[in-house]
């Protein structure tokens, strides 16, 4: 007789006759025997009592805090240990892991946490890609470590606390990266970005009363996007190349300059040697000449003659041929064919060989 029931759900007084009827039918169907005699009837109440007893206490683990509500209203938080409560939904206990440091990861996930953890980046590119202030794309992986500081706020103030944290984390990180040059984020800006993100996230979380406390924000990998990575590496290579070129040039420089300086010293020293030799020789020559001149001046004629003849003698020894002709003989040609053919010394058939008639007075070399 459903149409007789009030339109709203829930039990009203109208349900009572039905209930009685229901119990009666149950009894008929299963033929429940009437209460057995003796102490057996106590079993039911005992069972009920045990149920009540078990419903009257709860334990809180060391890392947890329990939030106790009576008829939905918050009454107190309970610290770890063994506690009593009112049974059957009068008191409800929610345990919150306040002692644990929790972590959310963005742009990657830890697949298997171990001594050597494994990470996966696949499928989280959307989360990690962000625009920098100079409109470049940077892939940023970061993790937020947090703990539940205020379990009461955590439970009662915001509906999806973890989702809220995610949203805040992403929007804050993107704002910060969007306010910086990609190069800063990729290189020196990491620590500053992390610190700023932590502070800003905490402020927003506080304004929502999430009851969360950010411990740290850690930037993991900060990379240029994959298609661009090669170009970034090229820059590093080019930087190395530049250093290499400079070093190479310096090497050539270092090879050549000291050598040249040594050679220069050699040149100068050689010149000095030459100078010393020149002076010494000239002094030697000069003193020799002076000696001879002195001796000569004592008997000029004889000495002159002797010197001339001696010199001529030596001269003859070093000469291949010497032809002496009569002073009246004008034609030299017949003599030239004597012995071998034409020799050096007389190259043409010229009749007059320029022999100075006064050989002793022929000019000598310049003073060298």
């Amino acid at each position: 007789m459903d149409w007789e029931r009030p339109p709203h759900r829930g039990q009203g007084p109208g349900g009572v006759p039905e209930l009685e009827e229901f119990i009666r039918q149950l009894k008929l169907r299963y033929k429940i025997p009437s209460m057995p005699k003796g102490p057996f009837w106590l079993l039911g109440p005992l069972f009920a009592l045990a149920l009540v007893a078990f419903n009257c206490f709860y334990t809180v683990q060391p890392q947890e805090t329990a939030v106790v509500q009576r008829f939905g209203a918050f009454i107190f938080t309970a610290s770890p240990g063994w506690h009593l409560k009112l049974p059957f939904g009068i008191d409800t206990v929610t345990k919150v892991a306040t002692g644990r440091a929790l972590q959310r990861e963005y742009g990657y996930r830890t697949v298997r946490a171990d001594i050597k953890s494994q990470f996966s980046e696949k499928g989280y590119e959307e989360q990690s890609a962000m625009l920098s202030g100079d409109l470049n794309v940077v892939n940023l992986h970061w993790a937020v470590q947090y703990m539940i500081e205020n379990p009461q706020d955590y439970l009662f103030q915001v509906k999806q606390v973890e989702d809220t944290l995610d949203d805040i984390s992403e929007s804050v990180m993107r704002r910060i990266v969007g306010n910086r040059y990609a190069d800063e984020v990729l290189t020196i800006g990491r620590a500053a970005v992390a610190q700023l993100a932590r502070d800003e996230m905490q402020t927003i979380l506080n304004s929502y009363k999430t009851g969360l406390k950010i411990i740290t924000v850690k930037l993991q990998n900060v990379n240029p996007p994959d298609p661009v990575k090669a170009a970034f590496n090229e820059v590093n290579e080019a930087r190395q190349e530049k250093e290499r070129m400079i070093n190479e040039a310096q090497q050539v420089y270092n090879q050549k300059i000291p050598k040249a300086m040594g050679e220069a010293r050699q040149l100068v020293t050689q010149a000095e040697g030459y100078g010393l030799e020149r002076i010494n020789r000239s002094q030697g020559d000069a003193s020799r000449f002076s000696e001879i001149r002195e001796a000569y001046s004592k008997a000029p004629d004889v000495t002159r003659r002797r010197m001339y003849l001696e010199s001529f003698g030596t001269f003859l020894e070093r000469v291949d041929r010497l032809i002496v002709i009569d002073e009246q003989q004008k034609n030299l040609l017949p003599f030239l064919d004597v012995g071998r053919g034409a020799q050096s010394g007389i190259s043409s058939g010229r009749a007059d060989v320029p022999i100075p008639p006064q050989a002793p007075k022929s000019p000598g070399q310049e003073g060298r």
Partner: protein, 330 residues
């Protein structure tokens, strides 16, 4: 006894059921509007705990008291400078007036779809009313470059000129609003429409901004060409440094060599001059004898084994060859 027991049992069950229908529990996370045959009665119950109502005729309507999340689906919106981007926004809201909420909206699902409509259009308005850089950058951007230059990023000097490439940096670094201001404006605009739903918008944030794929590709290309430019700059700097060093080396070499040559010539010249002076001193005392002496020396030192000479008897040495050996007069 069993009959009496049964009556008590049934009676107490009936009583409990009756009691439970006039009691209701309000959780910390909930707020309740009591309706009497569909008509809201009294003020909304926002304090948690056990409350009374009339059974049957009064009904407790539960609403969320906590802050709730609204998550928009990403929208492709052109910015004022005609750049197509995906904008993903998220918002926090709560029911501030459950009575109004009950009347105008009813449940959270409907609320979310109302929010979809309102927030999406507000976001669209503001995104297409602003340049992309305004949405990306925020307060303090003007400082970013300065701090960067102070710290001295190695690639920084090469990053400077970059204007007309796709998605390129605007020539001016001036920021008129910035992301924070724009989001604040969005919140203000959206909030204007929401009170009539009993909803309060706490916050609206741009979660992600992403170029549409075709633009993204161009951005990558630009980044690559930018890096390539920096790389080639490094290379040419290296080559330049090398050339400079080698040039300096050439100069140094020339200096060293020429200096050495000059010095050696000076030394030689001085020595030559000294020698000349010594010779002149010595030989100048008897020029005639010097001439004779040197000539004799020349004869003595003459050394050419292949040379031939033709002399006449007129020569002094041979003067006796023709004659008789008598002393004769010249």
């Amino acid at each position: 006894m069993p009959m009496k027991f049964r009556i008590i049992l049934i009676g107490s069950i009936v009583f409990l059921v009756f009691l439970s229908s006039c009691l209701y529990v309000v959780d910390e996370t909930q707020q309740v509007v009591i309706t009497q045959l569909g008509k809201p009665v009294g003020k909304p119950v926002t304090t948690s705990g056990l409350n009374f109502k009339w059974p049957v005729i009064q009904k407790a309507n539960y609403f969320e008291k906590r802050v709730m999340k609204w998550d928009g689906s990403p929208n492709q919106i052109p910015t004022r400078d005609k750049k197509y981007i995906w904008v993903d926004t998220t918002a926090r809201w709560r029911i501030v007036d459950p009575l109004l909420f009950l009347m105008r909206v009813g449940n959270e699902q409907t609320a979310n779809s109302r929010l979809d409509g309102i927030i999406d259009s507000v976001v669209r308005d503001h995104v297409s009313d602003n340049d992309l850089v305004e949405l990306v950058r925020s307060e303090g951007w003007e400082m970013a470059k300065q701090t960067l230059q102070e710290v001295g990023i190695p690639d920084m000097p090469s990053l400077e000129p970059n204007a007309d490439s796709p998605g390129g940096v605007e020539p001016s670094d001036h920021l008129s609003k910035g992301r924070e201001v724009i989001t604040r404006e969005m919140v203000a605009d959206a909030s204007r429409l929401l009170p009539e739903f009993g909803i309060h918008l706490l916050d609206l944030r741009i979660k992600r901004i992403k170029f549409v794929d075709s633009v993204q590709q161009k951005v990558y290309e630009r980044m690559i060409s930018e890096r390539k430019r920096i790389a080639s700059q490094y290379r040419s700097e290296g080559e330049g440094e090398r050339a400079a060093t080698l040039g300096r080396m050439e100069k140094e070499l020339a200096r060293i060599n020429s200096e050495a040559f000059r010095k050696s010539q000076e030394i030689r010249g001085k020595a030559d001059a000294e020698a000349t002076r010594i010779y002149a001193d010595a030989f100048g005392k008897n020029t005639e004898f010097f001439e004779f002496y040197r000539t004799m020396e020349f004869y003595r030192e003459f050394n050419n084994p292949r040379s031939s000479f033709v002399l006449t008897t007129e020569a002094d040495v041979f003067k006796y060859l023709k004659g008789s050996g008598e002393p004769r007069q010249k």
